[in-house]
């Protein structure tokens, strides 16, 4: 792949968000995303770019590999440019932080395949791409997603409920 700049500009934001949600750490997510684009550089051709990028990023998280500082440098430069155009999330309030912590807990409670499928879907990958990235059969993506969503929402609501009860007990 030679036009890695285009690839980067098209997919970096989604990939970083996916990885941040997966890892809970923006800086780490950016590193993994950069490594993913470095890998793309070495690839002669990629069939489905988005599925490929998400699959490689997912594997990188697993492998925690990092190499090729020189190319990373160039991509860091691009990321710097892009960061200026990105809107930073508002300042974290306690309420927000609690919500984020509960969301984190609920997401972590999912099995890995369900979690990844859900996070990929949130970034707009279609069923074929998710199937390709996670090596699932296309027919099972719907089932995987429905299960993931139900479990996520249910465990989040359970956390919310127990928090409300705690607060009520603390108040009385």
């Amino acid at each position: 792949v030679t036009d890695v700049d285009r690839l980067f500009r098209t997919y970096n934001a989604a990939l970083v968000r996916y990885l941040t949600r997966r890892l809970g750490d923006r800086d780490w997510a950016e590193e993994v995303a950069q490594e993913t684009f470095v890998r793309a550089l070495r690839q002669t051709s990629i069939q489905n770019e988005r599925a490929w990028l998400f699959a490689v990023a997912t594997n990188l998280v697993r492998d925690e590999a990092r190499k090729d500082m020189r190319r990373r440098k160039h991509l860091a430069l691009l990321a710097e440019e892009e960061r200026e155009t990105m809107v930073e999330p508002e300042e974290t309030t306690i309420e927000r932080a609690q919500e984020a912590a509960m969301a984190r807990k609920a997401v972590d409670a999912l099995v890995e395949r369900d979690r990844l499928a859900l996070l990929m879907r949130e970034e707009g990958l279609d069923y074929t791409e998710i199937a390709e990235a996670l090596q699932l059969s296309p027919g099972s993506v719907g089932t995987t997603l429905s299960r993931a969503r139900r479990r996520l929402v249910e465990s989040y609501e359970a956390l919310q409920k127990s928090r409300e009860e705690r607060e009520k007990n603390a108040a009385s």
Binding site: D27, W28, M69, A76, T92, A100, R104, S146, R149, L152
Partner: protein, 366 residues
């Protein structure tokens, strides 16, 4: 027709069904109340899970701080705090011993072992010329005391911030654990550091008071203490650093001159981008390595370019922002300082920064 299963409903709502299948699903849902309810529920799950996942995006930036600036900040702050502790412990020992020896013309300073904060009853070492001895003790004692301060003074926040700074790409455990602990953002760590520095300032009068209380002969030690405190104070910047945005090929520092009034100081590295090895994931101790690498890399340019002193500083004013650009006298790197203020005011600040840089550079050389 049989009822739709949950997977099919989600596929349909996600637009993943073929046209035929989608039409069939739609027709069935129109007639079947049970499946219509299931579709409504599925819509709810889709929307709710999206919302939950969005909450994950509230990750504070800089959980893993850029190594260079924060490292420096931490180090001097800790060093200052550690030095104050040395003075405090030292004078405490002096106070204790001088209870017996207040009338004598010399005082005893008990040597504190590196590890134990409370000295064991050992034969005391008598030092008559205290001013000469005390500063010598500082470099030995500081490193050993630093770790205990880190854990004590700053509690979990600072130490987790620190471990995050030291962790590298493969340090999954630390990173995984970091977000909840550091969720209160960098500010907390800064507060912890400020508290440490504040403790420094607060401790100073106490120490002086304690030493004075040891009667006349202690005067010499008081002088020594004052000298040391001044050395400690010299490590703090009179200009407050309020931020160090990341930039490739340059070191950026935001100084706060007066509240709400900041200037931006940029030190461009003369280093070829490809030669830079320092990244955001640089770990623990690269300060020395980095400066060594930098000076090595800039050496050739220094030779090639005309003497930096020959290049005058340039002043530009655009949209009310004044920018002064000038070459660093020692490294030849281009420096630039900008802020919303008059050129004269900015020149004053430039002089202050230069003085601080010179002091810092002198300190770096052993």
């Amino acid at each position: 027709m049989q009822h739709l299963d949950e997977g099919t409903i989600h596929s349909w709502l996600d637009g993943a069904l073929g046209a035929d299948e989608a039409a069939r699903a739609e027709a069935h849902v129109a007639e079947c109340a049970q499946c219509a309810a299931a579709v409504a529920e599925a819509r709810g799950f889709i929307a709710a899970s999206s919302r939950i996942l969005t909450a994950l995006d509230h990750v504070p930036r800089g959980v893993v701080p850029a190594a260079q600036p924060i490292k420096w900040y931490n180090r001097s702050a800790w060093r200052a705090a550690a030095a104050v502790l040395v003075v405090a412990v030292g004078s405490l020992v002096v106070v204790r011993n001088s209870g017996n020896n207040a009338s004598q013309s010399s005082f005893e300073l008990r040597e504190t072992p590196d590890t134990a904060p409370i000295p064991k009853p050992e034969p005391p070492i008598i030092i008559t010329a205290a001013p000469a001895e005390t500063p010598v003790r500082k470099p030995q004692a500081v490193p050993s005391i630093t770790p205990s301060i880190r854990s004590d003074a700053s509690s979990g926040v600072a130490s987790s911030g620190q471990s995050a700074a030291q962790s590298n790409f493969s340090d999954k455990a630390v990173r995984g654990a970091a977000p909840p602990n550091v969720a209160t953002s960098e500010r907390t760590r800064d507060e912890a550091v400020d508290a440490a520095i504040g403790g420094n300032a607060a401790a100073a009068p106490q120490v002086a008071g304690a030493v004075t209380a040891t009667a006349q002969p202690a005067l010499s030690s008081r002088v020594a203490g004052a000298t040391m405190l001044r050395a400690v104070a010299g490590e703090e910047l009179p200009l407050k650093v309020v931020g160090t945005p990341r930039m490739i090929g340059a070191k950026v520092t935001l100084y706060e001159v007066t509240p709400g009034d900041t200037v931006t100081f940029i030190e461009a590295s003369n280093v070829q981008l490809d030669a830079v090895v320092v990244t955001g994931i640089a770990t623990g101790e690269p300060q020395a390595r980095r400066s060594a690498g930098k000076s090595a890399a800039t050496a050739p340019t220094q030779v090639a370019s005309p003497s930096p002193a020959a290049l005058p500083s340039r002043v530009d004013v655009t949209n009310g922002v004044t920018t002064i650009t000038w070459p660093d006298a020692s490294t030849g790197n281009m420096l630039s300082l900008s802020g919303r203020m008059s050129a004269d005011r900015l020149k004053e600040i430039k002089l202050r920064i230069e003085r601080e840089r010179a002091a810092a550079a002198a300190k770096k050389k052993p």
